[in-house]
Amino acid sequence: MLRFVLERLVGMAITMLLVSMMVFVIMELPPGDYADRYAFRKYSGTGVSVTEADVQAIRVELGLDQPMVVRYFDWIGGIVLHGDFGQAFAFETSVVNVIGDKVWLTLAILFTTLIITYVISIPIGIYAAVKRGSAADYGLTIFSYLGLALPNFLLALILLYFANRWFEADIGGLFSSQYKDAPWSLAKLWDLVAHLWLPAVVLAWSAVAYQIQTMRATMSDELNRLSVTAARARGVPEGKLLWKYPARLAINPVVSTIGFDVNRIFSELPIVAAVLGLTELGELLLRAYLDLDMYVAGAILLLLTFIIVFMNFISDILLAWLDPRIKLGA
């Protein structure tokens, strides 16, 4: 088991290294560089005319005149060695300051979404498989098709609209206005929880649809196994039998795709966040892209990917723990 874990950790490191290179390329893609944008932003509208020499001075000061490889190592070295993700020019402070506790908010959204996803999709998938071919099964199939087809941001708009109509409440955002800039307290935490469900439901929407289908398919396969008939022939009561035998194995594909779900959630997060006015990493990422604040964007992209890679790792470990056959093979 230890070897298994170590192997995965090394794999993780290599993947992250490659990802960081790709992210760096993306950061470098937009025309112009940080110095150009910084100078433009700082002096535009002030009447001061910026010369190419001024820009060059900033460039030299920040080390941006170095070749790309050197800059990459500067950047990644800063992150790994000092936890320094660079400067956020739009905020005129360091990226770390801008990101701040948004990481925790993002994780809160992520885990709420994951919990909602699995709490809904696993039992429903099992139910659909057991009642295969029934009206309920068809209904669920149609629902899950819709879940895949209706984009999350539209769902978010629709939910916002109905919340407005029925409760006359503005349920967007992550905090009520009185807590927005307040320091952390129990009341603020509670306020967060009260606001989390909407983004979580919206983000869980397609993951639920997808996992219901996975669960239904694998559960149908598992239900047909001889080991299930054999357990039934030993008199194991039906309810216990379903969970202990087929469901226990049918869950494996769901566990093995946790990382995939996290990926999907993060993929949809920026747009959902924009519609719902969430103030976390996804929304910040979108803003950073629109402002071409590439150090912020790069940092967030790297962080989100790291979380995904880490969750992949967790899912591998969970799977090895759930399925004794894997442990033996490794």
Partner: protein, 383 residues
């Protein structure tokens, strides 16, 4: 008496045998088609998608007006539904009421109100704007419109600039579907090359490629697309943006298919016929293309079809937040960009009609993909 029965039996048997023979000797494609045809929902989905595609191809003819043509007399106007009857009686020909502009007594803004006394008839193939069908057939005929050349018919209403939502949706259908097709094609070619090399070469090459694939798979895809499209210079032309978008979408859509191709290739690498071809000195590209790929073309097609929705959804999402296609190009996402707030749903809900197109197209592709998968999977009959 006993010589009648066996005879009859024999001919019936014979017919049965012929039927089976036909079944067994039919080509893989015929079989897939037969099975697909039995899948009713998939057939319906194909028909819907076919209609959408036709709509896109003949957009200039189907849309009564251009995507940016404004109707200053009808801003934020609700859909005009052709009717047969009004307070003045009925007619055989559908008509709509004309609109007049009035000043709102409270806000003093000018608003358009229907005039119940004026009838303008809806006709087929009226003369209208000059367009070039398929890009080279000049015509001024459109599928439908009003018989009064000065009035405009907005069956799905207009946006705040008075542009016809129906016409815009028709043109957007062309853009969104074509981006999907091009994106899928690009990722198909990439998948073929990457998966082909990995699966054919195996070993170290395969390992390296697998690492690379892993990287593309772990980065959240829409933020990645966003990063790439954020890099597009603001001054680029709409055409440049359009092709860059297809490239971006295609550039990262290959991992799933590449994986499939790789693992299938790896699994048949040692088969006799492949080894024989290799020993006979055939080139790798020929071995892959002629001897290996055909054995699982069915699966490749299924994967291609189900990757469409991802392309369409990604394009919609990117354009929706302003990081994809840009006006004046119209795509489903660009149209939905105008419908970003709850206020829009309340005041001009018809601006959401393009959303229905997204949902229906994605649904259709998914259903067709499922139907094809069932048809391509020889074991699906056992289920």
């Amino acid at each position: 008496m006993s010589d009648v029965t066996p005879d009859k039996l024999n001919t019936a048997d014979e017919r049965e045998r012929q039927k089976r023979l036909k079944y067994y000797s039919a080509s893989q494609w015929t079989l897939i088609w037969w099975r697909f045809r039995r899948h009713r929902t998939a057939m319906i989905a194909s028909a819907i998608l076919g209609l959408m595609a036709l709509m896109g191809v003949f957009a200039e003819f189907v849309a009564p007006y251009g995507p940016t043509t404004r109707d200053a007399r009808y801003l934020d106007g609700p859909p005009q539904i052709p009717m047969f009857c009004d307070q003045n009686g009925c007619s055989w020909q559908p008509f709509v009421h004309g609109v007049t502009t009035q000043r709102d007594p409270v806000t003093l803004r000018s608003v358009s109100v229907p005039d119940p006394e004026s009838r303008i008839y809806v006709v087929l193939f009226p003369a209208g704007e000059d367009v070039e069908l398929l890009g080279f057939i000049p015509t001024n005929r459109h599928l439908f419109g009003l018989d009064d050349p000065d009035a405009k018919l907005h069956i799905w209403g207009t946006d705040s600039l008075g542009r016809d939502v129906f016409s815009r949706t028709v043109y957007a259908t062309r853009t969104s579907l074509s981006i999907g097709v091009l994106g899928v094609l690009i990722s198909f070619v990439l998948a073929l090359m990457i998966g082909g090399v990995a699966g054919y070469a195996g070993g170290m090459t395969d390992n390296v490629i697998q690492r690379g694939t892993e990287v593309v798979r772990v980065v959240p895809i829409i933020p990645l697309y966003m990063g790439l499209s954020a890099a597009m210079p603001k001054e680029w032309s709409t055409t440049q943006v359009y092709f860059t978008m297809t490239l971006i979408l295609g550039l990262f859509g290959w991992p799933t298919l590449a994986r499939r191709i790789r693992s299938q290739l790896l699994s048949i690498r040692g088969e006799d016929y492949v080894v024989a071809a290799r020993l006979a000195g055939a080139r790798p590209s020929r071995i892959i293309g002629h001897h290996m790929l055909p054995s699982f073309t069915g699966f490749i097609i299924v994967d291609l079809v189900i990757s469409f929705p991802y392309m369409i959804l990604a394009e919609t999402a990117l354009s929706f937040v302003g990081l994809g296609l840009r006006p004046p190009t119209v795509s489903w996402g660009v149209l939905l960009q105008e419908a970003q707030s709850v206020r829009v749903i309340e005041q001009t809900p018809w601006l959401f009609i393009p959303a229905a197109f997204v949902v229906v197209a994605v649904l259709a592709f998914t259903v067709i993909g499922d139907g094809l998968r069932d048809a391509a999977d020889p074991y699906s009959e056992a289920r």
